[in-house]
């Protein structure tokens, strides 16, 4: 797939009109990371319900269209799901969410940054170490 196809209206729309953007107060989970090579930054804040569901999921950040749209879509996807749901979340899920099958080594990190942040936050909340739980090199930068 050519990279211009990635910027289908959908992604551009999320880039320009990000859903769930901005601080979420109060929150139970707050995690943040950046991609040092390109400067993309993502912070995710979550309100957790009594029964362990992600009731509200917000993000803040700056960076390229792919990182920002991907973060925004992910907040929508995660909202209402149980915390455990993040454990099974994979690179493939993110690509599917973005409506693409491949992004190439340069841009895949942009797309996966928000997943990495989400997992880091949720695992920390659950008291597990993120490294053990994710087990995948792909989400590292």
């Amino acid at each position: 797939m050519s990279s211009s196809d990635i910027y289908r209206e959908l992604i551009l729309d999320y880039y320009r009109n990000p859903r769930n953007f901005g601080r979420l107060d109060p929150h139970d989970i707050d995690a943040k990371d950046s991609n040092p090579l390109c400067g993309d930054e993502i912070e995710i804040q979550i309100q957790v319900s009594k029964d362990g569901k992600m009731e509200e999921v917000h993000f803040l950040g700056k960076g390229c269209a792919i990182s920002q749209a991907s973060a925004s879509m992910l907040t929508e996807l995660a909202k209402g799901k149980p915390l455990e749901w993040t454990k099974d979340l994979s690179k493939e899920d993110i690509l599917k969410m973005l409506g693409t099958s491949d992004l190439g080594p340069a841009r895949i990190k942009c797309a996966l940054l928000s997943m990495k942040v989400l997992k880091t936050g949720v695992y920390a909340y659950l008291g597990a170490k993120p490294e053990e739980a994710t087990g995948s090199q792909d989400i590292d930068h």
Binding site: S2, S4, C38, G39, K62, G63, C64, R107
Partner: protein, 412 residues
């Protein structure tokens, strides 16, 4: 605008194997030359020949290969020395501009800079000409001031003048900015800094490859540059240092080849330039750099500069006609090297580089190792197109067409 090329780009392109390849089915339009340039066949062949015929350690051996290697290595040094009008004793091989600057930090800075001393840098420096001085300042208790920029992206001369009034001990500045392209008047700044009592460190990484260089005329104490930005191999660079100052300096790295004698109780240093070249030399790198210098000389640095100036003028003209593009730095090609940094609408440079790549156009996106400048200009990142001898007006047309496409994709 006249599209008159002062170089026969078609002929030159034939010398560069990589320019024959395609990217995503498109002709490769390589516009990332400020990051690294490509290698002509002459440089690749020189490396191959060295390894296939003469490879040995220079200087120490008596056997035939070692003599040939010494000749090749020191021959390369002579070529580079003449290229910048220095003597061979003043021409030190390093791994690159970054190591050259670190050599000055450790070799001169550690033993000369004291608490309260002033180090003057500029807001358009590359990280390699910032961080070594920050670490030196932290270690010694010196302080750093950054000369500001004008709206146009030139050095704020008044600010520079005011700082010279404070008798700095080091003044380090780039000859040509890798982001704005701004060319600083290295001779004038060096002379002024000298009068103020400072040593002058010129970062020539973006100037030596692109215009005639004469360290005597420049009058600086040090000049740092990299081979890979001037058609040479990766992993080799140069520090020029004025002889008198090199002689009083401490070595930086130590070990084999930079010593005269070693005893269990201490050591004495070899003559210049060897005092600063510890360990086995990168002889193949030096030989490749020598071949690159030959290649550039066969074109002539004056013509290299003229060619890039023509390309830059054309690019600036095209970009200023293009809706939604912001160009950073001087808008007159005479004032800048072949570097054009820009942004377009809300397209993040990272996305921009991807979109152009798809069209075969290779540019650089990001902070360009100049985060303080990004902060000053209040942009997180920029796209940058940068030119060299094998670029043509057609390449700039290809860039502009790719930019049109990007605008369409982003519905600007």
């Amino acid at each position: 605008m006249l599209r008159s090329e002062s170089l026969r780009v078609d002929e030159i392109r034939k010398d560069f194997p990589i320019l024959q390849r395609e990217v995503h089915g498109k002709r490769l339009v390589y516009l990332d030359n400020a990051a690294t340039t490509q290698r002509p066949k002459a440089v690749i062949d020189a490396t191959v020949e060295y390894y296939s015929q003469h490879n040995a350690n220079p200087h120490r051996g008596v056997h035939q290969l070692s003599l040939e290697a010494t000749e090749a290595f020191e021959g390369a040094r002579s070529k580079v020395a003449s290229f910048i009008n220095a003597s061979t004793e003043e021409t030190i091989f390093t791994r690159g501009a970054t190591e050259s600057l670190n050599l000055v930090r450790y070799g001169w800075g550690n033993s000369h800079v004291k608490t309260g001393d002033l180090i003057v840098l500029t807001m358009m420096e590359h990280h390699s000409n910032i961080v070594p001085w920050q670490l030196l300042a932290k270690q010694t208790g010196a302080r750093i001031e950054f000369v500001g920029l004008t709206k146009e992206g030139k050095l704020d001369e008044d600010h520079f003048e005011r700082l010279m009034g404070q008798s700095p001990s080091i003044v380090a500045f780039t000859h040509c900015s890798n982001v704005l392209g701004t060319i600083n008047d290295a001779a004038r700044l060096s002379a002024r800094a000298k009068r103020a009592g400072a040593i002058t460190v010129v970062d020539g990484a973006q100037s030596v490859p692109h215009m005639p260089t004469d360290v005597r005329a420049m009058g600086c104490d040090f000049l740092a540059f990299s081979g890979h930005k001037m058609l040479g191999p990766t992993g080799i660079g140069i520090l020029y240092g004025r002889r008198a100052i090199l002689e009083e300096m401490e070595p930086f790295q130590s070990g084999g080849d930079m010593i005269k004698q070693v005893h269990t109780t201490g050591a004495t240093w070899n003559d210049l330039p060897y005092k600063f070249e510890a360990g086995t030399q990168d002889s193949a790198g030096a030989v490749g750099l020598g071949a690159a210098v030959d290649y550039l000389n066969s074109i002539g640095m004056k013509r290299v500069r003229d060619h890039e100036m023509a390309l830059t003028a054309y690019a600036l003209e095209q970009m200023s006609k293009f809706p939604g593009i912001t160009v950073y730095g001087p808008m007159n090609a005479k004032d800048k090297g072949g570097v054009v940094s820009f942004n377009m609408g809300d397209i993040h440079p990272h996305d921009m580089a991807s979109l152009l790549d798809e069209e075969g156009v290779a540019i650089r996106s990001g902070h360009h190792c100049a985060q303080p400048l990004m902060e000053l200009l209040d942009v997180p990142a920029m796209s940058r197109a940068s030119f060299y001898i094998y670029n043509s007006f057609d390449d700039i047309d290809a860039l502009m067409q790719a930019l049109s496409k990007a605008r369409n994709v982003f519905c600007l």
